[in-house]
Symmetry: C2
Subunit: 248 residues, 2 copies
């Protein structure tokens, strides 16, 4: 009996959220206007109000709408600026959404020891992992160097096409992994001569380093990444909401 990969059955609230998001993206609902009221959306999608509200909550978190009591759900005007980049999004996904016309050179795909600066505090540091090194170029100029370390359970091997294309698509669609959350840390650091030359940094040796650890839904870590960005091409865009929880 083979492994069940049907999985991606979306819930009603997810479908509603997706549908409204697309309508916003294609400007069927326009910034500055209100969405249909929650009760109207109930009729439209044949669902209860709580379900509609859970869908709207997703759009609120994404920054697509702002709910205003007594008035309605206002479509916001934020996604113009290079779209929601926070969250967990792979380079290839960005490439598609933003039409960046980027290319990827796979420089390495071998088992290696995980560097201590990445393993630190997350994973046994003498553990080996599948190391994939990829140089991303836009208009043929180097922009990002990605160093990925994929942990063996759950990832034993990666086909060349996946390395050159989208790792995430391979993990989610082919392996059936459920990518759930990540921690991310952005710093600016001097880098090795090798990295500096790959990124064509010139006399400077400063790069923006994004280190991240990505986890599956069962909390198993599966990917450690260090991305080295040319400072002059780096841009991190974020949408954030004020939290209600405080720590004292």
């Amino acid at each position: 009996m083979s492994i069940d990969k049907r999985k991606n059955i979306k819930s009603k609230q997810d479908n509603i959220a997706q549908d409204i998001a697309l309508k916003i993206q294609h400007e069927l609902y326009q910034p500055g206007n209100f969405l249909p009221s929650e009760y109207q959306l109930c009729d439209l999608y044949g669902s209860s109000r709580e379900t509609v509200r859970k869908a709207l909550k997703q759009l609120t978190e994404l920054g697509l709408i702002q709910k205003i009591r007594g008035k309605g759900s206002l479509v916001l005007d934020i996604q113009r600026f290079s779209f929601p980049i926070s969250g967990i999004t792979s380079f290839q996904e960005l490439n598609k959404t933003l039409n960046m016309n980027a290319t990827t050179d796979v420089l390495r795909k071998k088992r290696d020891v995980i560097p201590s600066d990445l393993a630190k505090g997350h994973v046994d540091s003498d553990r080996t992992a599948l190391h994939i090194e990829r140089l991303r170029k836009i208009e043929n100029l180097p922009v990002v160097l990605d160093e990925d370390y994929l942990l063996d359970p759950p990832i034993a091997e990666v086909p060349d096409e996946a390395a050159a294309g989208s790792l995430y698509a391979y993990f989610e669609n082919d392996l059936g992994l459920k990518i759930s959350y990540a921690t991310k840390e952005i710093t600016v650091e001097p880098v090795s001569k090798r990295i500096a030359s790959l990124l064509a940094l010139g006399d400077s040796n400063l790069a923006v380093v994004v280190r991240s650890m990505t986890y599956l839904a069962d909390t198993m870590p599966f990917q450690l990444t260090a991305s080295y960005h040319r400072p002059d091409r780096f841009k991190f865009v974020d949408f954030a909401r004020r939290r209600k929880i405080s720590f004292k």
Copy 2:
């Protein structure tokens, strides 16, 4: 009749979320262990299951817990690393939570024209605003230069104590403003001689620039900020969840 400032009546779900968050912070619930089941939490807080679930949703978004179907809500172990910094958090709030022992010099507090790089696309660029310039130091070394521009409706004036302390506490507690969301953009750029010398950058002139626009719950923008960080002291920590909504 004076303006009503009672407002901050927290909902039941917020109180439950806050209570559990504190218990996690103080290790009454420990990383690697499960929270009481949702039904037990219903009993504990005398509420319905959906309400408990909305509280747990908040903790999930914050990265404090991970829910695992059939098993329970697992307490995560992430907040060790300098705590959730994404979201909208003021420097003073961070200072308190992290015990950074930081000081603030208020260098300027006057009405000024909003610089075009900040106003760009968000606000009429010839509009004036209350400009507050503050240099943040840790261990008496300059770390961040904050340039805040506060829009007049809704902010007419700011007392000196608020500028030296927490603007957000003043806005929320004294003015009763509801701070809701923000867009944020992180880049690395060469900066003016003046800023370079204030941050004691030495021969380099590169700083990490965080530009943000903050909005109230009614979508009125009220704060434009450019923060200039010493690259060697800059660190942005983020927790992110994979989004279910995709854009095609």
